[in-house]
Symmetry: C2
Subunit: 146 residues, 2 copies
DNA sequence: TTCCTTGCAAACGATTTGCATTGGA
DNA sequence: TCCAATGCAAATCGTTTGCAAGGAA
């Protein structure tokens, strides 16, 4: 996945939403494209080196999430991490470290993914629930905390 | 699942952990036994009617979670909800409403659960990750927000 | 008596917002 | 030009903690 192709799609989607794809927002995109999992505002600030104020990062993340180009992930200690929406990055799941809170992406074999999807629909129907997506979180300890 | 049988197990486990099973903590248990999903400190305060200070609730929840009788669930807006640990309530998954943040419990058919479990181990090994558990979240809109 | 627990109020930390300024189409 | 976006500081809100009082073993 190249940053430029993702950039095109995001620029277009943000345009449709009536918001600008500013340099600050492009920096957020490039940081997330380079990441192997969701990132918090604080992590992005560090990763981006250049001093972007947290308030701007939070605003960019909120705008991009409500335009559907980013997806939030709620972790421990009230920290929200964002990643590219699945239509940009592909469907995947997460390995969540119960010690440090870090999150890594993983993909499931198609066979199980299909089974899972089917099951989610069934189960949602029974719960009078409109299923829009699903997320499998594998909880444990990451390589660093092991 | 009766409150009294769960009470016994919790009392015993808390005893092993060297903490008391006070009336406040018993109230938390009864509220969670009566719930069909995880509850936040604020929700428990409302549900319990009697005015238990939030700080006490937070402390009870923290103590009970670190003793392994409660499990935390991190939701939107930095809200942490707790539920009985799986050894007390049975293994299950969640329907999470993306509008109001409410969480309902669901159970998967044994067949898929088995497949899922096996897969989680495989995938964790590949990621040099020690898998301790897994959680499937079905995201969508609940009956009320539909 | 000894240590755990509780209440209240103050402190924290992640996130949000008001407001004046800047910047892009 | 004009409105969205940004920076800074102040405000929110869920959660945590210090400290003195209460309670069980």
């Amino acid at each position: 996945m190249t940053t430029s192709s993702v950039d095109q799609q995001i620029r277009s989607r943000l345009g449709d939403a009536g918001v600008r794809y500013t340099t600050g927002r492009q920096r957020v995109t490039s940081a997330l494209v380079a990441s192997d999992g969701p990132r918090s505002a604080a992590e992005l600030q560090t990763q981006l080196g250049s001093a972007i104020p947290l308030s701007s990062l939070y605003r960019s993340l909120a705008v991009m999430a409500s335009a559907g180009v980013l997806a939030p992930h709620h972790g421990s200690q009230g920290v929200t991490r964002y990643e590219l929406a699945e239509w940009l990055s592909g469907h995947h799941h997460h390995l969540v470290c119960i010690d440090c809170g870090s999150v890594d992406d993983i993909e499931l074999p198609d066979a199980l993914e299909a089974t899972l999807h089917e099951l989610v629909d069934t189960v949602a129907d029974e719960g009078h629930f409109v299923a829009l997506g699903h997320a499998l979180e594998v909880e444990g300890r990451c390589k660093a905390c092991k």
